[in-house]
Amino acid sequence: MTSTDKPVVLVANRGEIAMRIIAAARRIGASPVLAASVADASSPAARAADRVVVIGAAQASKSYLRPEQVAQAAVNVGAAVVHPGYGFLSEQPLLCELLEAEGIAFAGPRPETLRAVGDKGSARQVAIDASVPVAQGIEIDDPSEVRSLGEKLGFPLLIKAIHGGGGRGIRLVTNLDELEELAPQAAHEAEGAFGNGALYLERYYGLARHVEVQVFGDGEGNAWIFGDRDCSVQRRHQKLIEECPAPGLSDARRTILHESSRRLVKALKYRGAGTVEFLVDTQTDDVIFLEVNARIQVEHPVTEEAFGVDLVAAQLRLALGLDPELPVVPAVPPVSVIELRINAEDPLHDFMPNSGVLTEVTWPRGPGIRIDTQVETGYSFPPFYDSLMAKVIVRAHDRQAAVAGALAAAQNTSIEGLKTTLPMLEYVLAHEDFIAGEVPTSWFGPVWDSRKDTHD
């Protein structure tokens, strides 16, 4: 404990989410302390915190990704709770266990939950046990004997590594010959990348949307459901734009998504904030469980703005043994919210990341506009970490107004000194398909590439 009696919240992350956690810590009357790498020791988030503790070198592998360094920082500053944000150690059971051994709370699920949902095979089993719809899938026993499995499932199929993640090791096959050829390769690659060559086959939905449900559990089986988000505007599995609520969902489908998620939270006795991700097919009525993200997500602000809640403050309150102070909300919010991710990437040159000093940063202002970021004029955007610079979140009375408001907000944002994804965001927000809503995850890539052909 510090000299004051405020509980110390150790913020074990950087960038915009560090700022977000610091704000939540202040909201609940706690004292935020930032665990930073050397490169972030005097960042805007460092200035916003009550104190900074330098945990390691600039590279994330020597700082933000080291559970023992983060846990030691928590011990050194007398933290009551550690908030891991997203990415880095947010779903690392080892950090959670190191902290538990020191009597320090972890603002996230229990380590056994992280393990249960962190592995695709066991997450799928948890989902099946909770009567959550999953893709028809079969584990491959012998990668050289896959013909009969392919015949059983039908095509197209995905070959996936059971222990994989982040889209790695996934192969799309459209016929039996391809399956026979690629399965042994995939097993070899999975063995090399993940130390385990176990594979499974799954039906592939080429025109599906990505819809996810925001959940919050009290750790004892009680669940809050905070609506759904559509995150279908993606490039190579990276989300670019998210919105709440997901447009065009029938009541029946929405009920399946929300009630499946509620059953998962109860079955896991889930603790804290989480997201249950689904594929919603646009060709059939199929709804397919993808995974549980056992952390606060990048796109959580659209849900917060739609329902008027502070999910990060609720995570901290729950971790401190307090009432999370969350309301029960309707399935569909009375407003529509859109989030734009502004990345330090050049969309005209294959989204190449860039870093350096921002010579001018200006944000839009007005009702319903929220900016989550730590960048500002003069900030040197470092090359060591991911390219997310800022999130612009716009709330309006309906989706059409939110799309128009988001476009105006993008047009009134100025970031000079680096290439950003703002031109891409403006293009999508003005596109008739996006304005109509319900685009699938496969929409953005070819649409953007063909646009480049005509304009470059």
Binding site: V38, A41, S42, V54, A57, S63, E68
Partner: protein, 161 residues
């Protein structure tokens, strides 16, 4: 060797392994098991006894971390205005003695080489010897024994040889 190895014996072991071709090694001394690795990753302590000293990270991995440190912009408290210092290669708790009551590894005025152990940093029960990293004559210690340190925090002043 006695049942419980002394720090010096452990450090000698580290030295020997450091000069060998082994990437990693695991050694059992009676009730104490020691795991060493030259690579970045020193795995978590084995299930072995709670009383046993924790695994020792070999000096090379420490030196690697220090060498990769960008020019320190660490806002370390009470940093001296000028002069060379030996800085903490990791966050943790700094110890100047191999065990409570024992003599300090080094004192102000001592001449050190790059390989001289000047203290230990404990990080989550893992004891890491801190090498001077440079040759010279030590000045004042800037961190008291058993105090928390941050990555890059100056530990002791040094007049370079």
């Amino acid at each position: 060797m006695s049942e419980t190895p002394s720090w010096q014996e452990l450090l000698d072991l580290v030295e020997q392994l450091n000069n060998s071709d082994y990437e990693s090694a695991s050694v059992q001394f009676g009730t104490v098991s020691v795991r060493l690795s030259k690579s970045e990753h020193v795995s978590e302590s084995p299930a072995a006894g709670v009383l046993a000293p924790a695994p020792v990270a070999a000096t090379p991995s420490v030196a690697t971390t220090a060498a990769a440190t960008p020019p320190a912009s660490t806002p370390a408290p009470a940093a001296p205005a000028a002069g060379d210092t030996i800085d903490a290669p990791m966050i943790g708790v700094f110890y100047r003695r191999p065990s409570p009551g024992a003599d300090e590894f080094v004192k102000p005025g001592d001449t050190v080489t790059a390989d001289t152990t000047i203290g230990i940093i404990e990080i989550m029960k893992l004891m890491n010897p801190v090498a001077a990293g440079k040759a010279g004559v030590l000045g004042e210690f800037l961190v008291d024994d058993s105090n928390a340190v941050e990555f890059g925090q100056p530990l002791v002043q040094i007049t370079l040889a």
